[in-house]
Amino acid sequence: MSSTLLRTSGFRSALRASTAPKRAGIAGATFIRGKATLPDLTYDYGALEPAISGKIMELHHKNHHQTYVTSFNNFSEQIAEAKAKEDIAAQIALQPLINFHGGGHINHTLFWENLAPTSQGGGQPPAGGLAKAINESYGSLDALKEKFNAALAGIQGSGWAWLVQDTQTGAVGIKTYANQDAVVGQFRPILGIDAWEHAYYLQYQNRKAEYFKNIWDVVNWKAAEKRFQ
């Protein structure tokens, strides 16, 4: 978990591990662990309608995201036990599960935060350094949206599209990630759109292009600006 992501997201408490250390005796060893928790939304489930239905938001947050949180905590515990036992094979076997469920937790937390009802600024265009970086890379916000939607439509299977900032050059760009792979390493997540079918299927069925078009009405560019450095 990148601490810069937490700091810039303004959602530190949501992703922060509990600071209270817990001791557990495993084969005579002890380890400290914290638990991930499901963040509260800063808006009601129905507040993103008509772009995203309240039913989708409720299931997506309360069920899907919660499952990632629960599973991440479960596998974190298992990997801590494997470390304590110096069981390298078990640690390696658990890593894809940590990647998937930890990624699911991070991605959804960032996603909720980079959405907002229109009454709370959703859809209002970005300003400042982020707006400038978008214009430099794409010419205009509309041109970015068009390329972003093409990237979303091109995802084969489950995944996400992100506006990212290259930490080496400072430039922004669009990248897609498979399944729950998180934006880590060279790139900083600025704005994420969930392209898993569970994010839109109840409302849009196979018409995912409509979902990609409508979601811009509830994008919280203020949150994106805070992530941009």
Partner: protein, 191 residues
Amino acid sequence: MELHHSKHHQTYVTNLNAAVKSQQEAIQSSDIPAQVSQQQAFRFNAGGHINHSLFWQNLAPASSAEAKSSAAPKLLVKIKQTWGDEKAFLDAFKTTLLGIQGSGWGWLVKVQVGQEERLTIVTTKDQDPVVGKGEVPILGVDMWEHAYYLQYLNGKAAYVENIWNVINWKTAEERYLGKQADAFKALKAGL
């Protein structure tokens, strides 16, 4: 079923035909970079067409005789030989299906190596099809969310449980006793 067949499967077919056309053009004009760059789109849409075609065939109404595992006597012998009993096989298949991260499929596959043949459960991601050398897809289960979401929402364990009531064991038996080309016969006729 209606959305899945008339919309999703149709989209794979439409996009596959487009991919075939542009690939033919790239071959005719000896444009090798274009041929290479189109391969992923071809694979994805061709896989989507193959997988869904096999899937519809290996389903049957729950009330039909085909939906009983007794419709696949020889396959059942091999399943019992491999997993111990039918329940152990089903449990292994269900666990494998629920372990898929993201979109994909679970398959019961017959693998033929020379005179030897064995059964195995495999998963394929997105629309990757089972087309390897000596591999015969016997039963496929679609684990894309569009396959179950309208009915089961996030309760995919219930979908994985209930799909076994509508498996076409007669088709499975035929695929088990046949060769790889036999499993894809209907597909060729369809194209």
